[in-house]
Symmetry: C2
């Protein structure tokens, strides 16, 4: 094997103008992504600078049947970029140019390494918006977002990454370069290749160019935090808003524990210590009147006490509201570096029974669980903290904990993951909860793209 890798390295060095590394400190960095408690062992790291580099790398690795792990910014949390069984990490981070912002067609053409937040800032210069906003938007890459089908708080109004990709250039494991779609919105030609590639977690092809739909950016936003007596009231409010034609850009819920933890972490006082749940709502629109009208409607619905609602009157106040939501995972990590992070998706009306069911089932284990997320679309984050439980004991419990959470999700017509993907850490769950026919279809799909199974192996499914 070592000889094979050396040969590959020599050939890559000859063929590429990309830089290739295998010094320990570099390999160390690419052994992990942001998945809790997971480490792999990369053999080489290739920094692609062009589609050609990607094509040559894949072609050679395919020849040597050496695994290739495509990597964007490495912010994934399901092990998607971790070389769990070794292999070549193909980093796209140096392909980070916004190639064009076509304002007339409202399309951005980007390399995969572009940081999502960067594209948003750039688009805003032209009064345009790229809506998908994963929590990691200041560090995650567009290519990674496409590979994971990333969502975010604004998904409730604007949808997720899949709703904004009009075209992709991608490379197959034999090195062939395919472009599907482009600067046009509607496409019924051939099979929907963008559809299958979005969310395929780097297991089918390597994305080298991305066409993103942009929309006119709303002129104004208004953020507010609303306390509720119970999670049920908070979730009920979501339906009340939607059916009353209020379409917030953001509808995030935080359970008592989540906000408490965040407040402690930030050294702030809880605005409403007695509240059992909060909704963080962002209204957006093109005029103040429009937004104010929505706000008045919200207050008129009777479900909210006007004296307790916290409306951000300044950018600073807005920042404070968001800080609490955004720092939850940081706060969790600070309190318990080892934790289980799940993001099941359930029908919106089942959020409460689902979370209640999970809580009850977890009680015997005496573990702290933090629940928060996207109340508007039923995608909820459940983080279970190790805290001071001995590592091995917690590690042993993890499979049981996951099983409890997924079982509840399916019980209420939901699924394993709404945003983070199957990746490596949920492969077993998929094996358990998907039918054998669905699994073998996945395998056939995988082989249709990657006959030798060299591309990000052991993610989503294992080939036999």
């Amino acid at each position: 094997m070592r000889k094979k890798i050396q040969q590959l390295k020599n050939e890559l060095t000859k063929a590429l103008n990309a830089s290739i590394h295998d010094d320990p400190d570099v390999l160390e960095k690419y052994a992990v992504d942001e998945t809790s408690d997971l480490k792999g062992n990369p053999w080489l790291v290739v920094y692609a600078k062009s589609t050609q580099d990607v094509s040559i790398t894949l072609n050679l690795c395919n020849k040597y049947t050496i695994p290739v792990i495509p990597r964007g910014a490495g912010t994934g949390v399901t092990g998607g970029a971790v070389p769990v069984s070794g292999g070549v990490v193909l980093s796209l981070e140096k392909m980070n140019k916004i190639l064009e912002i076509d304002t007339e067609n409202m399309i951005a053409v980007c390399e995969p390494g572009v940081i999502t937040g960067q594209l948003q800032k750039e688009a805003l210069q032209y009064g345009l918006m790229y809506p998908p906003d994963p929590a990691s938007l200041d560090s995650c890459s567009l290519g990674g977002n496409v590979a994971e089908g990333a969502g975010g708080p604004r998904a409730v109004k604007y949808g997720t990454t899949k709703d904004y990709i009009t075209g992709l250039e991608f490379v197959l494991t034999d090195g062939s370069i395919i472009q599907y779609g482009g600067k046009f919105i509607k496409n019924a030609t051939g099979y929907n290749l963008t559809g299958i590639l979005i969310g395929s977690e780097g297991t089918l092809a390597v994305i080298t160019k991305i066409y993103c739909k942009l929309i006119p950016s709303p002129a104004h936003t208004l953020d507010m935090l609303i306390p509720f007596q119970s999670l049920h009231d908070a979730v009920q409010m979501v339906y009340t808003l939607l059916i009353n034609r209020i379409r917030p850009a953001v509808l995030e819920f935080m359970e008592e524990d989540a906000l408490t933890l965040a407040a402690q972490y930030l050294g702030q006082d809880m605005p409403h210590p007695q509240a059992r749940a909060h909704l963080l709502i962002q209204l957006d629109g093109d005029s103040y009147q429009e937004i104010d009208q929505s706000l008045q409607t919200i207050l008129s619905l009777g479900a909210v006490d006007p004296n307790t609602i916290l409306v951000a009157q300044s950018p600073e106040q807005k920042e404070r509201l968001w800080k609490a939501r955004r720092c939850i995972r940081e706060a969790i990590h600070a309190k318990s570096p080892v934790f289980l992070a799940e993001d099941c998706s359930v029908p919106r009306s089942k959020i409460v029974p689902f979370l209640t069911g999970v809580k009850q089932a977890l009680t015997p284990y005496g573990l702290q669980s933090i629940m928060f997320g996207h109340a508007g679309d039923g995608n909820v984050h459940i983080d279970v903290l190790k805290n001071d439980m001995p590592y091995d004991e917690f590690k042993q419990l993890v499979p049981a904990l996951k099983e409890i959470i997924y079982t509840e999700a399916y019980k209420f017509g939901g699924t394993i993951t709404g945003e983070h993907g199957t990746g490596f850490i949920r492969k077993d769950a998929l094996k358990k909860f998907a039918s054998s026919q669905e699994l073998s279809l996945y395998k056939r799909l995988k082989k249709a793209f990657d006959p030798n199974g060299i591309l990000n192996p052991h993610k989503i499914i294992d080939l036999d």
Copy 2:
């Protein structure tokens, strides 16, 4: 072969509670869909009444390797439902129940034979809207819409079918039944099977249950017809509207000839005979003020003469405006039953050069071409009429005419089809304009779903 079919028929009759027909008048009806000048030869027609019926039919046809042509309402225009090489037509039209409208989750669960307009009417009872609105919505089926990835005028604001499907139950050729997704909005589990099935034109699987996302229906709409001096001005207006944050629900353009033909057909006078192009705009919103504000903005933009703009003041006037747009194809059919119907998609900013290019290239042939469609998303309809040209002469020209149109589309960064699909009639074009790598990927995808190639053969691609 005849013996094989007889055996299959006997087995099907034993196994199914569905009705099976092979009397000539039935076969005659299922030999065609709404594709101009295309006829196939069905051997049997099976009316499935349940997912089980579909499963058994596919499994048996697979055993006998007899082609199966799934059929919704047969309103397709690219030959998708035509048994071009014979086979069993599997009609889903009797599976036409709306199983549930879950108002709390704003999800409709439907059988594939449900008529799209029926679902829209039903949803409206609850103040909800299913936005996709293909021109044939009163006769086309939801299953067909999913299979074709149908769009419609409202796509510019609300997107197409693919944006509203949260889950599918489908049957593979071996008879296995798979459900992917459901009543939840976000799904990152496994591979995006809905993504690949939408627009796969019945070549990969047969869809037996559909989960559709509904949205609160806007309370008010306002329709208007605006005449322009030139197509360029009309298309320019689209950009002007969007960048000024006017988001019409509909942005349809009609070239002079298109509207003239429609007016003649309806026996009406042209509202503005001197106009070279018209835009049909629909504004929608939850309040009259909101819509009026948009209208005032439109008038203030200076691009429109307030004296020429026709605003529908009553349902009757609205109906009149829409009749003109909706009857264009009818009018074409009445004038020339044989015609070429193309629906290329190009970047919005390229509509004018594209159509101008096509016109120029068509001039030498002295054929009448009618151009209209979705100015808001660059999806344009080009119909070339045979008129009084001898059938054989026209038929001989068709390949050249198509080549001209597609070549122009690609020249401007567009594609063969935006809505109607590849089907049977554009398979050769796909072969010509897609790369060999893309084509062989399509073949591998097809085989991953349908190893024996029995499902809707000769559509999109031919297996070797």
